[in-house]
């Protein structure tokens, strides 16, 4: 299902890897259209992919009854991507630090860290049920590289 209003496009998608890939590709196209450089396109599309994986895998747990919603908006000043799920909710304060020595060799737990590393702003909102992540990239700023 697709809805379009001004420069915002919204998808309501099932909880699958195909949906993750679609959201990632949409983010890549949006960033490319906005004129950001290749490194930033990679960072933005990867952050969005990680958010979508989080929604589908950790939020909705691949439940066919639950949906992921993804919206993409270019405000002119920012790229704003919102990814929401219908899961049990995520408290980012409870996530272990993947850079802590005791966590370095864990096989998971780096997704939110990468999202925060690659975007300028990341906001979490509990939607009861579910979590909405808002990812913002300011346009016109130089890539930080880390």
């Amino acid at each position: 299902m697709t809805g379009q209003q001004a420069s915002r496009i919204t998808y309501t998608l099932d909880s699958s890897l195909d949906s993750v890939n679609k959201v990632e590709q949409t983010a890549e196209q949006m960033a490319r259209k906005a004129g950001v450089d290749e490194d930033e396109i990679f960072r933005i599309s990867m952050a969005v992919r990680e958010a979508a994986v989080n929604a589908v895998l950790h939020g909705n747990a691949y439940d066919p009854e639950k949906r992921m919603t993804a919206s993409f908006e270019n405000t002119g000043a920012d790229l704003v991507i919102r990814i929401s799920d219908e899961g049990r909710g995520l408290d980012p304060a409870t996530l272990p630090d993947p850079l802590a020595p005791e966590n370095l060799l864990r096989g998971s737990g780096r997704g939110i860290f990468l999202i925060r590393s690659f975007m300028d702003e990341v906001h979490f909102r509990q939607t009861h049920p579910g979590t909405e992540l808002t990812l913002i990239k300011h346009l016109g700023t130089a890539p930080t590289g880390d």
Partner: protein
């Protein structure tokens, strides 16, 4: 969208030439199965050639870490070869670059494996 893996042997070292994407789902599972198969066959010196890997997500990074720890726990060695800039940067950001033994030359990578 998927990952390609081919396997070859050089001086007792198993080299996995990986290409494409190591991501949640197919790519990560392929890598996990390949390493598991090698260990089952007693091949515990493994060099992952990532030269043609153009994309890796957090799941793929986690799979590299799991492969590293699994091989090490079985008394083997796993090294990485030919990181692309993107993969190099991701390992730097996640502080994993110094965890892995990373090489950029196949001959020196082969030579760096312990000879037991």
């Amino acid at each position: 969208m998927s990952m390609k893996i081919s396997t070859r042997q050089v001086d007792g070292i198993t080299i996995l030439d990986l290409g494409g994407r190591i991501t949640l789902g197919e790519g990560s599972v392929q890598l996990r199965d390949s390493v598991r198969d090698l260990l089952a066959k007693g091949q515990k010196k493994i060099l992952l050639n990532l030269g043609d890997v153009n994309y890796i997500d957090s799941s793929g990074i986690g799979e590299l870490v799991s492969a590293y720890t699994t091989v090490r726990n079985q008394g083997g060695e796993l090294k990485l070869l030919n990181l692309t800039r993107k993969v190099h940067d991701l390992l730097q950001i996640t502080k994993l670059y110094t965890v892995f033994d990373v090489k950029d030359d196949e001959a020196s990578a082969i030579a760096a494996f312990a000879t037991v």
